[in-house]
Symmetry: C2
Subunit: 337 residues, 2 copies
Amino acid sequence: MATIKDVAEKSGYSKSTVSKALNGYKEIGEGARKKIIETAQEIGYLANYHARALKMKKTYSIGVVYFDNARNGLKNDFFAWLIQEFRVGVETQGYDLTFINVSVGSQKKTYLEYAQYRAFDGVCIICADREDKEIIELAQTDLFPVVVIDMDFEKAMSVKSDNYGGIKMLSEYIISQNHKKIAYVTGHDSFVTKPRLKAFYDVMESNNIDVPKEYVVESYYRDPDDTEKQVSKLLKLNDIPTCIMVPDDFALLGAINAIQKAGLRYPEDVSLAGYDGIPISKIMSPKITTIEQDSHRLGMTAAANLIKAIEGEEDIEKVTIIEGKLIKGESVYKLPK
Amino acid sequence: MATIKDVAEKSGYSKSTVSKALNGYKEIGEGARKKIIETAQEIGYLANYHARALKMKKTYSIGVVYFDNARNGLKNDFFAWLIQEFRVGVETQGYDLTFINVSVGSQKKTYLEYAQYRAFDGVCIICADREDKEIIELAQTDLFPVVVIDMDFEKAMSVKSDNYGGIKMLSEYIISQNHKKIAYVTGHDSFVTKPRLKAFYDVMESNNIDVPKEYVVESYYRDPDDTEKQVSKLLKLNDIPTCIMVPDDFALLGAINAIQKAGLRYPEDVSLAGYDGIPISKIMSPKITTIEQDSHRLGMTAAANLIKAIEGEEDIEKVTIIEGKLIKGESVYKLPK
DNA sequence: CTGAAAGCGCTTACAG
DNA sequence: CTGAAAGCGCTTACAG
């Protein structure tokens, strides 16, 4: 690889002048600039990223935490989209994205240590265990800006989807279709689940709809088998619901199976509503009634805010809420009044 | 951030000795080693990655090309899995993963230029346009090892799924269910499609099954709407097929819609077979008959081979074929003999 | 077993 | 407008 020294020798200028010319300093004479740029091109000179990072203490590199446990991770559509949107967001600003490792060679490093070691300009926690001590440590650091998706920490910026608003829209839509017996299979308890459940109860209350205790049960997210079980139980109640909200669109597939196995019609006898707006939700028939999460805006906003913070801007929203969109679909059947 | 100088001063040894002690050189005395490691821990010393990379000309960093066009990209399940598996593979060897950007600040760089600039130890092309000049340039470089997934280049190593073998298994299974009128909606022509189509014709021929020209049509991958159109056309033929193979499991959803709209029963009147083995294929009922791609082995093998090449091993398979697995499912109906 | 010195490839404050 | 020099934080060949 050609170095700046090669360009200097070949062009007849000093390393200082070459560096300045190549970096667009205005004090460089027109002749020198031309000659230097030409020479650099000729010998295929490319600056050395690491030398530059070492000197400038700036890496134009963002670390991303993506803890992949059995139930989600990059294997989950939604997060895969998100990371891609985030990446495009930082890329257009000249930053690149590196996954944060936990091991370097044989030595274990914490997330924070790894981020320091690599000297990332900032970090995005896309998907991780909120209770993990290492994650908390990373999110609370003062060493560089951190943005987290769909979580809350005292210090880090966060970009979250509007879980309360999403379930509010969805519940209200279901009620507008004249359902009165509405059950909710929630995801397991988490920062995402809490506001959703609250929205559900709030809407039911303000519409004077009674929710029997046994109508609210819990299932894992994105676990059709588990959701199928829970829905099956609901369908064995004396007074079965006419509509069941499930944790997400993928889990909804399990709910369909439960309805069919119970010998009931979907969506006429038992309607379903999902969450996420994954691609198949639009393709299945009936189309799934759901809340589409705006992964594009989530990712882009996280990227924009992080880079603003890196570049020292002051007035950045600490918490940004991204609204979802109600997709009416066809899986919530309109009951007679 | 504490530097090696700080550790040296605090511990009373020289920078050289500190460096050696921390890197496990054996010539260091037991006392020195202990004291140095202790001191490093005390002041929270972490080596500087960029200084080390600069000096050692080794980055433990792998670049990954992920060109995301409208039809696939990280937004596609299969590739999302793959990248994750690949990442775990390199991570356990102490390498990390960075997406290759095309722009640095305002300057455009080619993929190869970016990889040089960042001094990646190696590159993996996970998903890209095979005909892109920049991709070809990257894949053919001598500057570092390159592994490509599901593509062929003269120089780069490749790890491919067994497309020929997959369709062979699938076709033979369909025939074993007594189907004789088998249509194939292929994906659009590509390095993936060609061997699949060949396998299809080979199996039909060796089983003396006639394939009318109009039984083989083309659709985009992962495009349920397009596949629905193609299947609808097939269902308007005078002699309609009893089984239709489609490009992939996701596209298969469109095919189901076409069958239902034609007033036919699925899978009794018209059976379907997909490809990929995506999660929903196991959850829908009937379960999809498909070939499950082994993304785990694909990603792991790509990672292992790339790192072997980086570390100078000689006897690495230039091309590795990873077999898929037939998932019988329920979407191919067993016809009477 | 330990350390002084050189050097990886840049950028930048300073001098001219 | 241009350049010599220092320095970013490491590693390693060499000397002792």
